[in-house]
Structure formats: C-alpha cells, structure tokens
C-alpha cells in the first residue's frame, strides 16, 4: 500500500516541480510537426478563401489539444489567413470562443498597432451536430458561408466581409483537425472530399491516437501532424525560429513536466523489473 502511494507521490512531484519552478527544456525535434509548419506556411489565400479548423476536443483532452490549437491558430493568424472555426463535439464550445481570443490578444501585445478581430481574422461557427452527414452536406453546398448560416452570436456568417463569399468547399485551402477522438477524425478524412477536391488536412492528435494517425500521415491523407504536447512544443519552437518574439515558455514548461514524468516512469519500470532479480538471487543465497 505504501509503495503504491510512494509511486503516486513521485509522479506528482516529477510533474509538479518543473511547473512550480518554471523549468523548461528545448523540446525534441519532430519531423511531422516541421512538415505541418511547412504545409501551413505554403498556404496562400485569395479574397474569399479560408482555412477551416475543427476543435473537436473537450476538457478531457485539453492538456494536449489546447496547445496544438493555439500554435496552429497562431501560425494562421500571423500569416493573415482567415479561419472558420467549428466543431463536431459539443464540449468544444468554450474553447472555440476562448482560444482564438487568447491567441489574438497575445499577438496584439507582441505587435502593437496590429489587430486580429473577430469577423476578420476568424469566425466561430460553433458546434455543428450531424457528424459525417453535416460534413458531406457542407462539401456539396454551393456556398459554405450560406450553408453554415449563423455564427455562435447569431449573426449570418455571410455578413462578415472576409467570410461573405467563400463559395464552394474548394475555397477551403487548409483543413485543421484538432482532436483525440478517432471517430470525428475519421469523419473529416472520409467525408471532407469530393471527386475533384482533396483538401490539405493537418491534424493535432492526442498521444493515444498517435500510432493510428501515422497511418494517415504515411498514406498522404494527412499532410502534417502534431503529436501530443511534444508536437505542439516543437511547432512553437519552429514558430519562434521565424518570429523570435513569439512567447512559448508555458508550453515548454508543460512539455518539460511531461518529460520529467516519463523519466520517473522509465526508472520505475526498470527498477520494477530488476528488483525481483535481486530478490530471487537473495533468496538463493539466503
């Protein structure tokens, strides 16, 4: 009983100490995150063209999905790519409102005089029920703005100048899917396409779904991937290389805390496997 509690205590200390003292290490390089940065960097939009980012996560996976959503939006905002935000997951509503506001405020503080306003930089179409059927209908709609109808504030999306004439789904130049839910991710992969249209899809996944996400990355169905917190941390480092004033200290602390927990866990696994050997040897000698 005491041993079990000691393990819990060690894990909480391993996670908590870097957070309390603000310890941060440079994250490991992740090629898939770099690929995703390059893909987003190459997106160029004409008036009316947009990126569409799905926040399909709730409080249960914010640890991994929120930093991913932040870095992807930060990159899109920096490149002045208008973003339509929406979700297939009810519990994402709070994050659809909070994250773009936080990112916009941070960028405005970094670059005084520049602004990222709701209705110009992004629009929040909110939670959309229907999953695959909704996506399939949107893909076949003549005008995405009109199909989406109203934003979360009840305003017709077509009334915002930047989003007034998106037209067909072909004008969605990038699709971002941030989720830990395999089902909703599959909806995007399976149904966000037409005969003559295959979007550029990038994905932020939780650690659990990394092995499955690699399959889609390998087949080319995904063009870029953020693997858990580590993927977001490395993406933020790449952003920082290009925009040195970018602030990512908190994300690096989070990533460091995770690494510290990994080290403790590995040590415990090694100890747990070696200890019985010594115990057995002791019994033989005893």
């Amino acid at each position: 009983m005491v041993g079990r509690r000691l393990i819990y205590l060690l894990m909480i200390l391993a996670v908590g100490l870097p957070i309390v003292f603000g310890v941060s290490q440079k994250p490991s390089r992740l090629v898939s995150a770099e690929r995703m940065y390059d893909v987003v960097e190459q997106v160029r939009v004409q008036p009316g063209e947009v990126a569409m980012v799905w926040f399909d996560f709730g409080p249960n996976t914010i640890a991994e999905n929120e930093p991913q959503a932040q870095v992807l939006l930060e990159h899109l905002f920096r490149n002045r790519i208008p973003v339509v935000l929406l979700s297939q997951y009810q519990q994402a509503e709070r994050f659809l409102a909070k994250i773009p506001n936080d990112v916009a405020k941070r960028l405005e503080a970094e670059m005084p005089g520049q602004q990222w306003r709701y209705g110009e930089a992004w629009v929040n179409a909110g939670f959309r029920p229907g999953g695959a059927i909704f996506i399939q209908s949107m893909v076949n709609a003549a005008d995405v703005s009109k199909f989406l109808g109203r934003d979360v504030n009840g305003m017709p999306i077509a009334q915002y100048h930047t989003f007034s004439s998106i037209g067909g789904v072909e004008r969605v130049k990038l699709v971002g899917e941030i989720t830990g839910l395999v089902g909703v991710f599959d909806n995007i992969i399976q149904f966000f396409q037409k005969n003559d249209y295959r979007p550029t899809i990038v994905h932020g996944c939780t650690s659990i779904t990394i092995p499955e996400a690699y399959i889609f990355l390998d087949s080319g169905q995904l063009k870029g991937l953020l693997e858990g917190i580590a993927g977001a941390a490395w993406y933020s480092e790449v952003i920082k290389e290009h925009f040195p004033k970018s602030e990512n200290k908190q994300l690096l602390v989070t990533n460091t805390a995770l690494s510290a927990a990994h080290i403790v866990l590995i040590l415990l696994i090694v100890l747990g496997n070696i200890a019985p050997l010594f115990k057995r040897r002791g019994l033989h000698h005893g």
Partner: protein
Amino acid sequence: MDSSSSWALASVLAGGLATLAIFSFLIKENGFYRFFEHLFIGIAAGLGPMLIVRDFLWPTILEPMLGLTVVTYPDGTHPEPYQPLYLLYLIPMAFGCLYYFIYSQRYSWLAKLVIGFTLGASGALAIRGFFSEAIPQIAGSFKPLVVMVEGNISLMESFNNILFVATLLLVLNYFFFTFGKEGSLQGKMAPVGRPLLMVCFGAFFGSTVMARLALLVERVQFIVRDWVSAVGTFVGIG
C-alpha cells in the same frame, strides 16, 4: 468584483476542489471522492439531453420553423422572409418519433421502420467512408523497395520501406487462418508476425501512458497556477 469574474472565480474554486476530491482516491476510498464521483455522473447525465435541445433541436429545427430567426429591421421590414418550407421538418420529426412505438407490443413494427432506415443510412455512410479512407492507404502501401535520391540509393529510406512492406506482409500472413499447412513457407513465417504485433501493442500502450501523464500535467498546472491563486483571491491575500 463584477458578476462575471465572481462566476469565473467560483468555477476555478469548484474545479480545483473537484480535482483534489478525485485525486484523494489515490490515498484511499473516501466519502469526499464518492460525493464528487456521483456529482460528476449526475452532471454528465443531465448535460447530454440539455445540450441536444440547446445545440440542435432548438437552433436547427424549432427556431427556424417557428420563424424566430427572421430578423426584423427597425422599419418593420425583413431582409429574409419566413420560409414555410421549414415546416417540412415536421415530416422527418414525425418519422423519427415512430421509434417510441418500440414500447408498444401492437405497433412496434412502426419502430422497425425507423431502425431499418437508420441502419440503411449508416451502412451506406460506412461503405462510402471505408473506401474513402482505405483505398489511399492501400495505394500508400505500394512503396519502392529501393529509393533513389539524386541518382544515389537512399539507404535509410530504402530500409524504412523494406521494413514497412515486410511488416505488412508478415502481419497479414499471421492472420491467414483458412489454408496453409504447417511446414509450408506460409506456415513457418506466421509466428514472425506475432513479435511485430507486440511491438505495435507496445507503441499503443506507451502512447496511452503518455496521454494519461499529459492529463496529470494539465491538472497539476491547473491546481498550481489557477486554483492556488483563486484560493488566494478568495481568502483576500491574492
């Protein structure tokens, strides 16, 4: 302190309390943990139906059908008039309500109509989805075993592709149960698929552990950063 910040403070305080209550199970089973566990189950059960009404039934069906989305300008005119076609929603709604006949012995066949329709639609979606998802992956598995980069053989990429193709074939062979006898090449190669699968399961397990630790990191961050300062504000020292 205005009402919105009071509400935010109360949310953080309650969130921290709930987190600590759930974590208290790590010490031992206790009433504090049990209370918050029941609270969570109750909230989750109540939240689902409420969200369906708030996020789907009301804004998507009832509000437009009742004409409540029609904007009226101060001069009394409307940019978009009421669309009576919204009333057609009543037909699928009535059809969907047939499901409740499942409780009637006499008319339960009416519920089967809805179930049959749902199964048919789901099946069609699943078939379409499968082909959209799987065919690019099958095509993606056709990899060159010797990769040439600028006229030279790329040893690393070639090795990766050979490993990929070999793993794919060996694992597929492992699940070949219909024919092939012991002693044949197929039979001899079958056990090789097992350790490769174990590597895959190890990767899945490792990534699951990583995800659980990420959750712990987020909760500890919340407690250390948000909750502690909220407690400070609440007791007047923040």
